[in-house]
């Protein structure tokens, strides 16, 4: 059976070159970078090299990169670490309603610790209005965290516009760039932010590694206390093979981004155009233009995401959904709800995220197999029969 992986936002595969770069560190080069002997020296060297590579990808300096264990850890570290470092100045934090849970729930924890959090709404495309950030700023605002792009609907946020405001007010600005770094050009200086999260498994690097970039001079309190790895900012024996892999992935991404963007945008635009043409009562979610090249997201009315996923999986197609049933927490995507999509429609969420291996044939294939699945599920759906009866009644 044909196999099509359209779930690159969940995780990309590992690039074979990245894997190749990692293998020696799963073998002879097993040393601990803190050790003072040849094994340690080699490990330390490779971690330093990876730091240069990651810094290079985002226009940063190597010593500003702190390796972490995931995008989630980077976000927890940023929110809690930056807030705690500045609590003497104030306790007010601003984030958006569509942040990833690792930001949202970190903010909730900060609330328990006595911080005050303002959630900025988004428009129906999922875009934050910089003016809303501006208006939310108070005397005691110490931190703004707005994501660079949303992984579920692909919408890009106006980070530069927001950083102009935070800069003016001298407020630390963190951006969760887990969905963008390695996929579109990201330059910390151009963005004007003070801290930025990224993760390896979003651009053909390994799982188990992320990074937090913190502008030199910005204080941050460690999330993981212990030894003085990572300049005393993140304790614990370094995950050397994964760090080496992240470095390699960063190096490769620097070269691959333009070609990937062109290719993904083509696939995306085909799907954004052709899927609604083939399936009535389906809508594109997220911004029509200002979105990640690799993201095509929809809601398909009257049916539910998980059953679509399962039937697509039987046809060899891997996608994801923001429906309540797929969320394990059994709540419809907070992102779709924040965009004003009804709970009922949000249940039909379907998300395609592209990877290097995807082709036009993959798009053809999913456009061929999806409509009968939708039909079949709609035939089972009491919502659909009500709709049909109502439209008949109406006509």
């Amino acid at each position: 059976m044909k196999k099509v992986y359209f779930d690159n936002a969940a995780t990309t595969p590992l690039d074979p070159q990245v894997r190749e770069a990692m293998l020696p560190y799963l073998g002879e080069l097993f040393g601990n970078p803190s050790s003072l002997h040849d094994w340690g020296d080699m490990a330390r060297q490779s971690v330093d090299d990876a730091r240069e590579q990651v810094a290079g990808l985002i226009g940063a300096q190597a010593e500003e990169i702190i390796f972490t264990g995931s995008g989630t850890e980077s976000n927890n570290f940023a929110l809690k670490g930056l807030a705690l470092a500045q609590q003497a100045k104030g306790k007010h934090i601003i984030i958006s309603e569509i942040e990833h849970f690792s930001v949202l729930h970190s903010a909730r924890t900060l609330e328990k610790w006595g911080f005050d959090v303002t959630l900025i709404p988004v428009d129906r495309y999922g875009v934050v209005d910089p003016q809303d950030v501006h208006k939310s700023i108070r005397k005691d605002t110490i931190l703004v965290s707005i994501m660079h792009a949303n992984g579920e609907v692909g919408t890009l946020e106006p980070i530069k516009e927001i950083s102009r405001i935070t800069l003016e007010h001298n407020i630390i600005f963190h951006t969760d760039a887990v969905a963008t770094v390695g996929n579109i050009p990201v330059n910390v200086k151009e963005l004007g932010v003070d801290a930025l999260s990224l993760a390896g498994n979003q651009f053909y690097g390994p799982k188990g590694v992320g990074a937090l970039w913190v502008r030199k001079g910005v204080r941050i309190i460690p999330l993981l206390d212990g030894g003085i790895q990572e300049g005393g900012r993140r304790a614990g024996t370094e995950n050397v093979p994964a760090i080496v892999g992240l470095g390699k992935a960063a190096e490769l991404a620097a070269g691959d981004i333009p070609a990937k963007m062109t290719k993904f945008a083509h696939l995306r635009d085909r799907l954004l155009r052709e899927l609604p043409a083939r399936i009535d009562r389906s809508v594109v979610t997220g911004h029509p233009q200002g979105r990640l090249p690799g993201n095509a997201s929809f809601c398909i009315e009257f049916i539910e995401g998980e059953s679509m996923l399962m039937m697509l999986n039987m046809k060899g197609v891997a996608v994801s959904s923001g429906s309540a049933c797929t969320s394990k927490a059994l709540k419809a995507s907070h992102v779709l709800i924040a965009m004003g999509i009804s709970h009922e429609v949000a249940q039909g969420s379907l998300l395609f995220t592209f990877g290097k291996d995807n082709t036009d044939e993959d798009i053809d294939y999913v456009l061929e197999v999806l409509p009968p699945i939708v039909d079949r599920l709609r035939q089972m759906s009491p919502l659909y029969s009500k709709f049909v009866k109502a439209s008949k009644g109406g006509s």
Binding site: F302, I303, E304, E306, S307, M310, M314, S323, A324, C325, T326, K328, L330, A332, H343, E344, Q347, Q379, M380, S381, P382, L383, Y384, S385
Partner: protein, 131 residues
């Protein structure tokens, strides 16, 4: 590991008794689309037995499989027997359901019971009308 048992997958892939019954003797609806799962059961009753059952379901794989197996479990049973079908017996019959799916997608028994209640109410009315 798939999150669902083979039995769930079987009923999800080939759900039994999907559809509606025109002039059903009883109709029962349970759940709502906000939570993600909603089921409508239609029954035909003959001599106190479920002579036909059909359902329509909006929801996840588990919800569809639950509806299907409930229709199968209840088919031909007396109304009293059918009322003894519970979420627990349904889950057992499906060889288990994921923990987090147990409550919200396992509404099939309730929807069926509502259809039976609906039938009984109509019966009463009809009898009342006759008297």
């Amino acid at each position: 590991m798939p999150i669902y048992s083979q039995k769930v997958m079987d009923h999800f892939t080939n759900p039994r008794n999907v559809g509606e019954i025109e002039n059903a003797d009883g109709i029962g609806e349970e759940g709502n689309p906000v939570c993600g799962d909603m089921m409508t059961f239609y029954i035909k009753v003959k001599e106190n037995r479920l002579d036909d059952i059909k359902f329509k379901t909006f929801g996840c794989g588990a919800a569809i499989a639950v509806s299907s197996i409930v229709s199968e479990m209840a088919m031909g049973k007396t109304l009293e027997e059918a009322m003894k079908i519970t979420p627990r017996t349904v889950a057992d019959e499906l060889e288990g359901l994921p923990k987090n799916k147990f409550h919200c997608s396992n509404l099939g028994a309730q929807a069926l019971h509502k259809a039976i209640d609906d039938y009984k109410k109509k019966q009463k009315k009809a009898e009342g009308g006759k008297q």
